[in-house]
């Protein structure tokens, strides 16, 4: 599932193997890309650092958690699937049942 390792892919937080591909400009599903497509670019540690600096956060899919510092990034990068962000689905607003 190479999309999950690609710097151009931002998963949807609800169904993490589905997300937005910046290059193709559309929704893509990672299981359909078991081999990397032509535009695959590994989300290297430097790429991720750059995104972190730009957006202020990136996302660890394994932990389902937001990373906001380089130290955290280094900790997660080695063993987990870290992606350059996650998309919050529109249903969250529509369906949020109230939690307090």
């Amino acid at each position: 599932m190479s999309c999950l390792r690609c710097v151009h892919f931002k998963p949807n937080s609800i169904l993490p193997y589905v997300g937005y591909c910046e290059v193709k400009g559309r929704v893509e599903s990672a299981p359909e890309h078991l081999t990397p497509c032509g535009d695959f670019k590994e989300a290297s540690i430097d790429e991720l650092k750059a995104v972190l600096r730009k957006d202020g956060w990136i996302y660890c899919l394994t932990c389902a958690s937001t990373i906001t510092s380089e130290e955290e990034l280094l900790e997660h990068y080695r063993k987990h699937v870290v992606v350059p962000g996650a998309l919050v689905d529109e249903s969250v607003v529509e369906e949020a049942p109230g939690g307090d």
Binding site: K10, N12, S13, I14, L15, Y17, V18, G19, Y20, R26, V27, S29, A30, P31, E32, T62, C63, A64, S65, L87, V88, D89, E90, S91, V92, E94, E95, A96, P97, G98, G99, D100
Partner: protein, 631 residues
């Protein structure tokens, strides 16, 4: 059936679409929503029951269909799937292991891991699926969500932030296919849900075709009988909805609130309908829905509004009600008609904000210093809640007392099908009103209920004060006036008991001389009635006494109804530790109810566990049963 997925993933949408489709075909539906105190990410599920013979009023385990959007749902609920049941799941998460689900609480994970170990099942989704298929004869319907999405995205532009719409479409379609619902009716359901968003209707309809083709062998695998309910039109509502609707009909024109789960949705709905238009679009009224800075402002501004003659109320839950208590005491002291709608949730303190309970019985009845008349009402189901909401305001204004309408999260969030209320039989009773005029005495001692004028009434001036007061409303410390005013307020309680018809105080369902009498209040009504029916068919005569007027407690009526039934044949059921209704009964009547069924996990009592629990009590095995089914 049980539909599960992460919060904010389209589960609610699935519920509404499926629910309305089934209702429009003539089935009865009830659906409970369970969710975490969380915006997105944690697990949530809908437990739905569909009936072809009646309007369902309770839920039961096991379920025949488990439709999962994710791995967490499979792990959390696989033990609740019946033998021979159907599991719908995403093959792409087959290899997911329970250790890899960060959103699952450790306690839950450990508990499920133990169960898996006991059964000799490995901790992956596919192992669970294998186990279900092999040992429980479950039909596993694995769908490739990913390729479905791919096929869809080749035809339509899918918004990467609207993947939930796709997911809800998969769930709806797969359940619809299993139930044998054809494309026309499902497409109509999509159309009703998505209204102006035509492209979503098209996408979901295509999804239905894809799913149907993938599951074609299993179309109608769960056979639904032809519905025999014979209803032309019905209402599909949650408890929050029905109370808001009741308030609009009752004439409420000021509602204040502070956002709190599970009450806030009622105010949001009121706000949606805040302009009330007549047949020809003319303005017949509007409701001020005021979000205040805290619950203290909510209750006190509602009281202020009531002083000007407006039917006003506030709606809250446990933590919020606690803040309102000083205001409640002021309202009691000043004989102000207001209604506080109190939806109980798990306590104490922040408790379980999104889970239900009936633990605040004593809080509603006894909170507030000093002795004064207040009324506490309870409703057994949604239709009762509609009429009781209106009655609450009638009682408040007729007797000039604060009324607490004590409900709970179970009622608030459960979606149910109910008959359309008969609005024309509703009465709006405003009590003894007067225009006031010069020399007006707001607290006239000439009668127990002083004729009420409103602030703003022509040529009328009146005073209100939290202090003990004279007939004009001025502060008084004279002992004789004090005694007369104090007792005037409290004596209203006896008047209320004398005045109210039996039907508003308690309702007996079943024979008057049963083998066993179950007493309870609030939303246990549905599941208890179903249990009573079950036992009656088995030859054990049972009845349910639904207590609607909790305060002032209808002791005489209670004693009369239970006369001849020994204490040992009376049971109480409540979502609490203490089953406190039994204590309330003891305090007011001297009858001691020892046999109790209690549940306090925050999940609703289901029919299967109640039957089992009642069997244990009836057989003499236990006197106190604690239920705990459901994740």
């Amino acid at each position: 059936m049980l539909l599960g997925g992460p919060q904010g993933s389209g589960i609610e949408t699935s519920m509404w679409i499926l629910g309305r489709i089934l209702v429009s075909k003539g089935f009865g539906v009830i659906a409970d929503r369970e969710y975490f105190s969380n915006i997105t990410g944690r697990h949530s599920y809908i437990q739905m029951l569909v009936s072809s013979v009646k309007l369902p009023r309770s839920l039961r385990y096991p379920v025949e269909i488990l439709a999962s959007m994710d791995a967490e749902t499979v792990f959390t609920h696989f033990t609740e799937l019946s033998e021979g049941g159907i599991l719908v799941y995403d093959v792409n998460i087959s290899s997911k292991r329970i250790e890899e689900i960060p959103s699952m609480e450790d306690a839950t994970r450990e508990r499920i891991a133990r169960v898996l170990a006991e059964k000799g099942v490995k901790t992956s989704v596919e192992s669970v699926v294998e186990y279900l298929e092999r040992d429980r004869r479950v039909l596993p319907l694995g769908l490739d969500f990913s390729s479905l999405l791919k096929a869809l995205s080749e035809q339509y532009r899918i918004d990467s932030r609207a993947v939930s719409k796709f997911l809800s479409g998969v769930i709806v379609s797969s359940v619809a296919v299993v139930l044998g619902l054809d494309e026309d009716i499902v497409a109509a359901g999509f159309r009703q849900q998505f209204r102006e968003r035509e492209e979503l209707v098209e996408q979901n309809t295509m999804l239905y075709r894809l799913v149907r083709s993938a599951l074609s062998k299993h179309y109608g695998a769960v056979r639904l009988e032809e519905p025999r309910l014979a209803m032309e039109k019905v209402m599909v509502v949650t408890g929050n909805d029905v109370v808001a609707i009741g308030k609009i009909v009752a004439g409420v024109r000021y509602q204040s609130y502070y956002p709190i789960t599970p009450a806030a949705d009622e105010s949001f709905l009121l706000e949606k309908y805040d302009n009330i238009l007549g047949e020809n679009g003319e303005v017949i009224g509007s409701v001020i829905v005021m979000q205040t800075e805290d619950e203290i402002a909510a209750v006190n501004s509602a009281i202020g509004a009531a002083l000007t003659g407006v039917r006003s109320s506030t709606t809250t839950s446990g933590p919020g009600f606690d803040l309102m208590v000083e205001g409640l005491s002021w309202a009691g002291m000043n004989e102000v008609p207001i209604v506080i709608t109190y939806y109980q949730r798990g306590g104490p303190s922040t408790g379980q904000p999104t889970r239900g309970s009936q633990s605040d019985l004593f809080n509603a009845i006894f909170a507030g210093h000093g002795e004064f008349a207040r009324v506490v009402l309870s409703s057994g189901d949604h239709l009762d809640a509609f009429y009781d909401t209106i009655e609450a305001f009638n009682i408040a204004e007729k007797y000039q007392v604060p009324v607490i309408h004590l409900l709970d999260k179970f009622l608030a969030n459960t979606v149910t099908v109910m008959t359309i209320p008969d609005v024309e039989r509703v009465r709006i009773e405003r009590g003894v009103l007067t225009r006031g005029g010069p020399g007006y005495k707001r607290f006239s001692l000439e009668s127990l209920i002083s004729p009420r004028a409103f602030i703003g009434g022509k040529d009328t001036v009146m005073w209100y004060t939290g202090d003990e007061h004279d007939e004009y409303g001025h502060i008084v410390e004279d002992p004789e006036v004090r005694a007369r005013m104090y007792s005037k307020r409290i004596e209203k309680l006896s008047l209320i008991l004398r005045d109210l018809p039996m039907d508003r105080k308690l309702r007996l369902h079943g024979p008057s001389s049963p083998d066993y009498l179950i007493i309870g209040w609030g939303s246990v009504k549905g599941v208890v009635l179903d249990a009573v029916e079950y036992f009656s068919e088995k030859g054990l005569k049972m009845s349910y006494l639904d207590l609607k007027l909790l305060w002032p407690f209808p002791s005489e009526d209670f004693l009369r109804i239970t006369n001849g039934i020994p204490d040992s044949n009376i049971l109480a059921v409540e979502h609490s530790y203490g089953v406190n209704i039994a204590e309330l009964v003891a305090m007011n009547t001297g009858r001691r109810i020892v046999k109790r069924v209690s549940k306090y996990t925050g999940r609703p009592i289901t029919l299967d566990e109640l039957i089992h629990g009642l069997e244990e009590i009836v057989s003499g095995k236990k006197e106190r049963v604690v239920l705990s089914r459901g994740a």
